[in-house]
Amino acid sequence: MNAAERALDLLSRSLMVLASLAILGMMVQVVIDVALRNIWHSTLAGTEEVVSAYYMIGCAFLPLAWVQRERGHVIIELFTSWLPERSTAFLDGVVMAVVGAGLLVFTVATFDKALAMTADNEIMIGTIDVTVWPSRWMLPIGIGAMALCMILQSVQEFGRAFGLLPPRPRPAALAEDIEPI
């Protein structure tokens, strides 16, 4: 269990590093393009395509596993707030197993698409042609990693439900932000 947790931690962290390059790359490339156009009457051809295909896809899909690791995917707690802690854990275990399985289907579907687009040598046409098929692979990678996190967390929730693992720590209170008036 610990080994799986460490491996997934490393995986989601590495994907975050790649995503960081995407978000910073987006900012830098757009600013360079703007500067070239306005100051030097030139342009960084392919910016729109690179931003759309690589940076956007990288920002949106690569951090998914990390977000799940931190339980950052939004859920509605209102209707289950009356449940005792261990029942909530059991419910979460079931839900996460189902969601994990669904995400695996999503992973396989996007994997097949990535394969097909690689075979087609997918491009986007802008002021120049930009090869974009590599960006297709970020979907199965990002979604697959999220699926694995989800499945691991499902197992952990079942552990909590049956008292084999300690309860999850409560979220930090608002106190840290509050300043005396």
Partner: protein, 346 residues
């Protein structure tokens, strides 16, 4: 047996082709004795331009408006044909050419639809010419130098050749980009003056044709559906196409004329380029043929010269047909039926 066909396109709700499609659907329904009905989703409400070809293949929709330029690597042959838009001066001629070519005279073209997308190609049209809409009065080649110009693919090459800067601005931002001077000129058909409000920001329109896009096929049907239809049902579909295509293309031409009249009244200027720029356009378009062929090879189109020759042959044929028979809508519709659609095996 009653059959429902789900149709998808991405054209704006007010685009002139949409009501004509609805009319077409109604005619097919009537002629099939009510056995073929249509459920249509316009304006990307079901599938975006990029999603339509694959969506029809996979059965999300049964039929749709295909624009290969959105999926260049999946439709290399269609895109290769699209490159010849630059040599399209006469939308009527090119409409005839392209339909005949893809249906009967270019195996690769047919295969791309039927084998790759499991779809029967049925109707396309050539659009009215692309022209430059500019913020300032651009007349000469010298005026063009250093101008920031919106245009993709072949048109980006044209901008570079003129010494202008090809800028890629998103379609939804093009009006504002013109308005604030982020770009100086944008390339679109004349109707964009009205439909995209270009006329409020770009009051100078160089009417020299830069070719009319013909990579848009407006009605394609999944083979699985086509194969399920009876002969009578297929006949109802095919025999109504010439009217659909004819009305669409003549509506485009009429809209262009109306927009020129309306915006001339508002003080916008429609004019020809100065001789040097005009000559540059013509030469660029002629020289583009070899570039298109080279690009076709790059994109793994087999024997692109053969397709180009066939295209030229049909262009000559249709130019002559129209010269001999006249250019009114009835004649054009009759020619489409006689030369093309009557020959489809139903």
């Amino acid at each position: 047996d009653p059959v429902k066909i789900v149709y998808a396109n991405y054209l704006n709700p007010k685009h002139s082709t949409n009501p004509l499609l609805v009319e077409y659907f109604n005619r097919v329904q009537k002629d099939s004795g009510g056995t073929v009905t249509f459920e249509y989703h316009f304006a990307s409400s079901l599938l975006t331009g990029k999603d339509i070809p694959g969506g029809v293949r996979d059965g999300i929709a049964d039929s749709g408006y295909f624009v290969g330029a959105y999926v260049p690597s999946e439709m290399p042959v269609d895109n290769y044909l699209g490159d010849f838009s630059l040599i399209s001066e006469d939308p009527l001629v090119m409409t005839g050419v392209n339909n005949e070519l893809v249906l009967f005279n270019c195996e690769q073209c047919t295969d791309e639809y039927e084998k790759k997308f499991k779809t029967k190609f049925l109707a396309t049209y050539a659009l009215t010419p692309y022209v430059y809409h500019c913020k300032t009065e651009v007349r000469t080649l010298d005026d063009m130098k250093g101008k920031k110009v919106r245009g993709l693919a072949g048109y980006a090459d044209l901008a570079r050749a003129m010494g202008a800067i090809p800028v890629n601005v998103n379609a939804d931002e093009a009006y504002e980009a013109l308005d604030r001077g982020t770009i100086d000129c944008a390339l679109h058909s004349i109707t964009a003056q009205k439909t995209r409000s270009y006329g409020e920001a770009a009051k100078y329109i160089i009417t020299d044709s830069l070719g009319g896009f013909f990579g848009a096929s407006l009605f394609n049907l999944r083979l699985e559906k086509w194969n399920k239809l009876t002969k009578d049902q297929r006949d109802a579909i095919v025999k109504n196409i010439p009217e659909l295509v004819t009305k669409s293309i003549y509506t485009y031409i009429k809209e262009d004329e109306d927009v020129v009249a309306e915006y001339t009244k508002r003080g916008n200027k429609f004019y020809n380029a100065a001789p040097d720029l005009g000559k540059f356009f013509v030469e660029f378009r002629e020289s583009y043929l070899s570039k298109a062929i080279a690009r076709g090879k790059e994109r793994k189109v087999r024997d692109p010269e053969k397709i180009a020759d066939e295209l030229q042959r049909l262009k000559t044929k249709w130019t002559k047909l129209l010269a001999d028979n006249g250019r009114d809508p009835e004649t054009f519709q009759k020619l489409l039926w006689q030369e093309i659609y009557s020959k489809i095996k139903t």
